[in-house]
Structures are given as structure tokens and as C-alpha cells.
């Protein structure tokens, strides 16, 4: 099974062993999740000097030793121009970056492995190893201590990134990935390609991915996306993430984006933006569900079912009156095991005052409190005991490990 690096610039002969020219490129039509069959050889002929495209069905032998055709050259029906639906393996793939979807990272293609699949010569793997580099340099034998092993990635698990992302093929594949993995890929790509990838996703998913991207890159990417795209993504992001992003932008930019968001959302963002990052106010999320104390358990569960799509996660529900005065929190577990006709008020347990956060409380204190009481979430109340927000343990973790 040949490597592309071995084949390029080799002589191409017809069935009468007459040299037609040298192999310059190989063309495929990329399809998602397939080993793509070779479609054409691009051959540079000697006299006259021009590039011709020979359909792969004429090829008898494609190996390191010999590239030969089944017919004599005069019987080959070649073309001199080719449509733009083809991907050129050398021009578009070799030496370029590709997304390795299994590893959720971006790598550079050192060589391509070809081989027969279902009787058709196809691209089967991408070599990203140092051995591939040595092979391309023509000094494979230098690898005597073999520090480099061949490392092939399955062709079906890759996604080329050159030029415009091939969205129609790609987006479906990319949708398989976890938002955090996609965010990693975006961080590996250059900002142009990264922004393109984000726009290729639907707004909801784009928002989820965007939330996972490194804050510094988030800030830069906002400038690369159109204002409409930004607004679309922002409106799908959770409020606290929007707030974090807004904090990095200039006052005018914040104004523009806020004016395009729903007025309710914009108001919430504005109220949160004033808290410093390392306080409970800066860390808290507005992504939580509140219920009334007089509701029954059954009624509450029905409400949760209805409202669920709006929330990122529901671990606890928070009992407040209409003016947001805080009564207590009830876990889903407690809700499920309770009598359906009981009032929520009856489920409330004594809530230790020391486990309640004030908006200006420092990060270290939050960590202490959450650790001491084993909390997944902690509520933030103002002086009048009104619920301002909830600090989630994952936001605390993120502050500890911003690189992850």
C-alpha cells in the first residue's frame, strides 16, 4: 500500500511502457465517513508541457515501483480541465491542517496512506508522524533509532480545513463532537477558520461551543464574526457566560450588543456586569429555576418538565416568593421521593445561614463554604434576602483550571 509521498513526481507509463509524464496530484470527491476512492490522476506531460487529468479506471498499477495505465495513451480518454467539486490530495490536504475528530485536535498532514477498499484504491489514513516527515524528505533510513513511529489517523475520522470548511460534509460530522472538544479544535485553528467553524453550526450549538472557548479567543472571535452572528450566539448563551464575555469588551461594544439582545436578557446582563470576577456576584449564574412555596410537589414536577429546555441543568429548584425573597432550596431527589400532594413549604429544611453567599464575597471564601457544606451549588442573596443568583461548582472549578 503506497504513500502519496512516494508516488508524487513518479513517472506515469501507459500499457506500452511509454512515459506519459509525472504524477502531480490525485483527485478525490470527499464524502463524510468514507474512505474516498481516487477519481483522477493529475499528470504533467512532457511535450507539450501541460497538466492532464486521467480517470482512475485507466490505472493498472499504482505503487512505489510503478504507476502504469491499462491502455496505450492514445486510447485514454483524459480531460484537460476539471470541475471544482474535487479535492486535490497534494494541493488541499498534504502539508495542510486537518481536524482529527477522534482526538479532537488539529494536526498537520505529513503524508497520506492509500490502499484498496472494496476493490477501489482509496485514501485510508493520514500520517502525522515524524516518520512521515522523513519519508517526504527522502531520508526514511535516518530513522535508525526509530524515535518516530508511523502514526496513522483513520481517513474517515478527519476533516480538511483548507480554505472554506466543507460545511455540507463537515457539519454533520462535527456535530458528533462534544462542545468542549469542538472548542479545543477551534482553539487550534487560526481565528479565520475558527470563526467559520462556529458560524457553520446552528446558533444553539454554536453558543454551547462558544462558551467553552478560551475567554481571550472569545473576545477576539467576536470581532471576526458579523454583529448579527454574535447577537444570535449571545442570545443562546447562558447569562453568566455573556456577562463574562462582555466584561472583556469595550463599553461601546457592550452597548451595541446589549441593545440587540432581548430587553429582559440585556437587563440581567447589565445588573451582573458590575460585579468583579472573583466575587460571588461575578461567579454566579442566573441559570436556575424558581418555584413558589405553596406549589405542590406534583405541580412543581409538571412545571419542571415544561421549563426544562430553558435551563442548562437542574440540580435544585429554588423556592422564592414573587419578589424573589428566598425560602430555601429543594433537590430533585427530595422532590421525586416526596408525596405528590405535599406543599413545597413542607419540604424545606433549615437552611444554614452560613452557607448563603453575599454578592461581594471573595472567591476563597466561596470555596471554603462550598467545601465545608459539600455543596454543588450555593445561593447568593442580597441584604433583603432576595435571590440574586446561584454559584455552580463547575464555575468554581473553571476558575481553578482556566486552561482545561
Amino acid at each position: 500500500m503506497p504513500y502519496l509521498g512516494h508516488l508524487l513526481n513518479s513517472k506515469v507509463q501507459d500499457s506500452a511502457d511509454a512515459v506519459i509524464g509525472r504524477l502531480k496530484d490525485i483527485l478525490i470527491i470527499p464524502k463524510a465517513g468514507k474512505y474516498d476512492a481516487l477519481e483522477f490522476l493529475a499528470v504533467k506531460t512532457n511535450r507539450p508541457k501541460k497538466v492532464i487529468y486521467i480517470p482512475y479506471e485507466y490505472v493498472e498499477n499504482l505503487s512505489r515501483k510503478e504507476i502504469s495505465l491499462k491502455n496505450t495513451f492514445s486510447n485514454v480518454n483524459y480531460s484537460e480541465a476539471i470541475g471544482d467539486s474535487y479535492t486535490f490530495l497534494k494541493r488541499d490536504i498534504l502539508d495542510q491542517q486537518i481536524v482529527d475528530m477522534e482526538g479532537a485536535r488539529v494536526v498537520r498532514v505529513n503524508d497520506l496512506r492509500l490502499g484498496p477498499v472494496n476493490g477501489k484504491m482509496s485514501v485510508i489514513g493520514v500520517d502525522i508522524s515524524g516518520q512521515g516527515l522523513l519519508r517526504r524528505l527522502g531520508v526514511e533510513k535516518w530513522n535508525f533509532l526509530s524515535p518516530f513511529k508511523v502514526h496513522l489517523i483513520d481517513w474517515r475520522e478527519t476533516q480538511p480545513v483548507k480554505g472554506v470548511l466543507k460545511l455540507d460534509i463537515g457539519s454533520k460530522d462535527l456535530n458528533r463532537l462534544h462542545p468542549a472538544d469542538l472548542a479545543n479544535i477551534i482553539e487550534d485553528l487560526n481565528i479565520k477558520q475558527g470563526s467559520q467553524l462556529v458560524t457553520s453550526l446552528d446558533a444553539k450549538r454554536a453558543a454551547k461551543v462558544f462558551e467553552e472557548v478560551d475567554p481571550r479567543l472569545q473576545k477576539n472571535m467576536v470581532k471576526f464574526l458579523s454583529p448579527e452572528q454574535v447577537t444570535k450566539i449571545l442570545s443562546q448563551m447562558s447569562i453568566d457566560e455573556v456577562v463574562d464575555l462582555m466584561k472583556t469588551l469595550s463599553k461601546e461594544e457592550v452597548k451595541t450588543y446589549l441593545s440587540q439582545l432581548q430587553s429582559g436578557v440585556a437587563q440581567e446582563v447589565e445588573s451582573l456586569i458590575s460585579y468583579p470576577d472573583d466575587t460571588a456576584g461575578g461567579l454566579m449564574s442566573l441559570d436556575y429555576m424558581t418555584v413558589r412555596p405553596e406549589w405542590t410537589v406534583k405541580q412543581t414536577i409538571e412545571e419542571i418538565k415544561l421549563a426544562s429546555p430553558k435551563f442548562r441543568s437542574i440540580l435544585y429548584i429554588y423556592v422564592t416568593d414573587v419578589d424573589q425573597h428566598f425560602y430555601g432550596a429543594v433537590s430533585l431527589r427530595r422532590l421525586i421521593i416526596s408525596e405528590p400532594e405535599k406543599n413545597l413549604k413542607e419540604l424545606l429544611k433549615l437552611f444554614p445561614a452560613t452557607s448563603i453567599l453575599k454578592p461581594n464575597q471573595k472567591f476563597t471564601e466561596i470555596v471554603d463554604i462550598m467545601t465545608k457544606y459539600n455543596l454543588f451549588t450555593a445561593v447568593v442573596l442580597d441584604k433583603k434576602r432576595r435571590l440574586l443568583g446561584v454559584v455552580y461548582i463547575d464555575d468554581v472549578m473553571r476558575t481553578f483550571a482556566p486552561q482545561a
Binding site: 502539508d95 498537520r108 505529513n110 481565528i191 477576539n220 472571535m221
Partner: protein, 415 residues
């Protein structure tokens, strides 16, 4: 005098308020090799080479601007673009070229550290290994941003050359005249020093550095005009400093026929300002400049090579995932440090010859840059203007011609 000082302070404040890639890169250009080369240019040849300095100010501005433009358009480092457009073999050639030049420069930085601390009475056998370890440690921990800023501020030390220049009251008329009157001596020392002068001002690593900087910071194309102005300003400021170093050493050392064989000799130029503290002041400046360069170079080298080869890189990666990245950084600290602590090796010679290596290798890197920036497929409408092309090709052929003459003259033994 007071007024003058105050004006300088205002200038200094302005300087730090507009710091961007152009000024950082240009400032880091005045590293150990830079100070030494400019000092030797002035001390050994007086103001004879000022015309070269004037010309390469334009070259520096234009080449750095090209780096910014490629970065803004392609959003990729130079290493990556070379790989994607020239294939593996040419990439290997470009990377080896850059690596040799950068190892040379890095050796100069350690020589600068050794030389400056030896003025203060610390032996290079102690200073260089400790400095190498600290630099490696800070880079490995990835916490060099603050450190880099501190040393950037220290590099404001160059102001003393400007003040000093006014105190000496050199013949400015004659200095300006020699900027516009080309003088050439067909001798090996002259040509060698001239190539070093070019190679320390316009560097291969500077070309890689400025482009990665633009990409890394996510600068936008709409800032292009501002960036261009900043790069031009950076080139201008750097070369004003170089100008003053040269006229200071010309008015002191050259006047009295003192040749620089040791870093201490170069410090004599600062005596009119600092008196007996001249040596300490010079040591401080040389040390700060060397360390600043020593932080930037291993990183710039590792970024370029990893980007071209497709290995993981960046300080937010872990050792396990980015072994190549951290190994290149470690090697480009270790090898130069080892060279510097070879007994009896002349630190001054290291500092100037490494700049020659840079100068001789520079055209190869610039040719890649030229082929990229004039390629419409890559750059679209942002290809070079005829003016950019004229300056760049003139620079490339100027250096090649000087190198050829140098080789020729050393063979037939002109001296």
C-alpha cells in the same frame, strides 16, 4: 538640561503607551548582539557606516510591515505558511536556516549575560548556567509575560545613550553628512562588521516573531494602518538608539583609537554621562537587553518549528502533549549556554559573529517572505507595492552582494 530631561520623560511615557508588536520586536532587536555590534561599528569605524544604518532603517520598517501584513491576512505564523506553500523540503531548509541563526543569536544573548555580569565581578561559569536555568524555568512554567514586560521596561536603558550623546556634543553635522555619503572599505573587518550591522538590525527571528505576535493577539485587519504606523515608528526608534550608540562610541573610543576586545571597553563610551559608574550602567543595560532576547528567542524558535511540523505548541499545552515544543526550548537554551562557557572563548567575538551568521542567512528567509507576499492566491489584494518590493529586493541583494564580496576578500586576503 532639566528641560531636556523632562522632554525625554514625556517621550518615554509616550513610548510605553503605544507599545505593540512593532516596538517590542524592534526593541528586542537591540539585544546583546545589537549593543555590541553598534558599539564596535562606532569604535572601529567611526561614523563611516551610518549610511548603512539609514538605509536599513527603511529595510527594517518594510520587512517588519510585511510580517504584519502576512499575519493579518493569513492568520498563520510564517512557519505554517512556508510549509503549506513550499512543501516539506523547502520547509526543512527554512527551518534549519532559522534554527542556526537563532542558536547563534541565543549564544550572543548568553555571551551578553556572561560579559555584563563579569563587569560586576561574577564569573561566566557561575552566571551563565544560573541564568540559563532561570530562563528555562520561567519559560517552562509559562509565566514569562510579566518578566518580559519588566525587561522591556529595563530596555529603556537605551535612553542613556541618547542623553550621553547630547552631553558628548559630537559633531552632528559630520554624523549627518556620513549618513548620506556612502563609504565602503574593501577589507574583511569592514565587510564583516557591516554584515553584522545589517544582521543585528533585521533578523530572521524578528520576521517570525512579529508575524506570530499579530496572529497570537488576534489583531484585526482594520488595525492594519495603526500597526503599520507602529512598525515604522518602532524601526525609527530602534535606529535612533543605534545611531546614538554609534556616535557615542565614535566620539569616545574611535577618537582615541581604542578597540573593543572586552565588554568593559564598550562601557567607556558612557563615561561622559556616568563617570566611574559607566561600567555598572553599561553592564545593567547589556544584561537587561540580553535577558529580554533570551526570553523571546527560544519561544519564537519553538513556535515556528512546531507550527511548520504540525507538532503541538504553546504554553497552555502540557509536556506530555508537546514534548517537541518544550524540547526545542530547552535545547535552544542549553546548547548556546554550553558554547558560552567554553573556556577562553571571546564573548565579544561571539556577539558580533553571531550577528554575521544572522545577516548571511537573512536573505534566505526574506526570499520566502517575498514569494509569499507577492502571491495573489495567498495575499489577495494585499500583495506588495512596487516600493515594498524595491526596498526588500534591494536589501536581499545588498546582503548577498556584501557576503559574496566578504568571502571573496577573505580568500584573496584583502585586509
Amino acid at each position: 538640561m532639566k528641560k531636556k530631561l523632562r522632554r525625554n520623560w514625556i517621550k518615554l511615557l509616550f513610548f510605553f503607551s503605544v507599545v505593540g508588536p512593532g516596538i517590542i520586536s524592534a526593541n528586542a532587536d537591540n539585544d546583546a548582539g545589537g549593543i555590541t555590534t553598534y558599539s564596535i561599528v562606532g569604535a572601529h569605524f567611526g561614523t563611516k557606516m551610518l549610511w548603512v544604518l539609514l538605509l536599513i532603517t527603511f529595510s527594517l520598517a518594510v520587512t517588519q510591515e510585511m510580517g504584519i501584513r502576512i499575519g493579518l491576512v493569513t492568520r498563520q505564523g510564517l512557519g505554517g505558511i512556508i510549509r503549506e506553500n513550499f512543501g516539506v523540503r523547502w520547509t526543512a531548509f527554512a527551518m534549519v536556516t532559522m534554527l542556526i541563526a537563532n542558536l547563534g543569536t541565543m549564544t550572543a544573548e548568553f555571551a551578553g549575560i556572561g560579559a555584563s555580569l563579569s563587569i560586576l565581578g561574577i564569573s561566566k561559569y557561575v552566571a551563565v548556567p544560573i541564568a540559563a536555568f532561570i530562563i528555562w524555568f520561567i519559560l517552562y512554567k509559562g509565566s514569562f509575560k510579566t518578566t518580559q514586560k519588566i525587561f522591556l521596561i529595563f530596555s529603556a536603558f537605551y535612553i542613556v545613550y541618547i542623553i550621553n550623546g547630547f552631553i558628548i556634543k559630537p559633531d552632528f553635522g559630520q554624523a549627518f553628512a556620513s549618513m548620506f555619503k556612502p563609504t565602503l572599505e574593501w577589507t574583511t573587518p569592514f565587510l564583516l562588521t557591516m554584515i553584522a550591522l545589517i544582521g543585528t538590525t533585521i533578523t530572521p527571528w524578528g520576521q517570525f516573531f512579529i508575524q506570530s505576535y499579530v496572529v497570537d493577539k488576534g489583531l484585526e485587519i482594520k488595525h492594519y494602518k495603526a500597526e503599520k504606523a507602529e512598525v515604522y515608528l518602532g524601526a525609527f526608534i530602534t535606529d535612533i538608539v543605534s545611531f546614538f550608540i554609534i556616535i557615542c562610541t565614535a566620539a569616545t573610543l574611535y577618537q582615541h583609537g581604542i578597540r573593543i576586545t572586552d565588554a568593559k571597553d564598550a562601557a567607556i563610551a558612557l563615561e561622559p554621562l556616568a563617570g566611574h559608574l559607566a561600567e555598572v550602567l553599561f553592564a545593567f543595560g547589556l544584561f537587561a537587553a540580553s535577558v529580554l532576547g533570551a526570553f523571546i528567542l527560544p519561544t519564537a524558535t519553538a513556535y515556528a518549528i512546531c507550527e511548520a511540523a504540525g507538532w503541538e505548541y504553546g504554553f497552555n499545552t502540557k509536556w506530555k502533549d508537546a514534548k517537541a515544543f518544550y524540547s526545542i526550548i530547552a535545547a535552544s537554551i542549553l546548547i548556546p549556554a554550553l558554547i558560552v562557557i567554553i573556556p577562553k572563548i571571546s564573548l565579544i567575538n561571539i556577539m558580533i559573529l553571531s550577528q554575521d551568521v544572522n545577516g548571511i542567512l537573512l536573505p534566505f528567509i526574506l526570499i520566502f517572505v517575498m514569494l509569499i507576499i507577492n502571491n495573489k492566491r495567498i495575499m489577495g489584494e494585499q500583495v506588495n507595492s512596487w516600493f515594498d518590493n524595491l526596498i526588500s529586493w534591494a536589501t536581499i541583494f545588498g546582503i548577498i552582494a556584501a557576503t559574496v564580496v566578504l568571502v571573496f576578500s577573505s580568500i584573496i586576503g584583502l585586509n
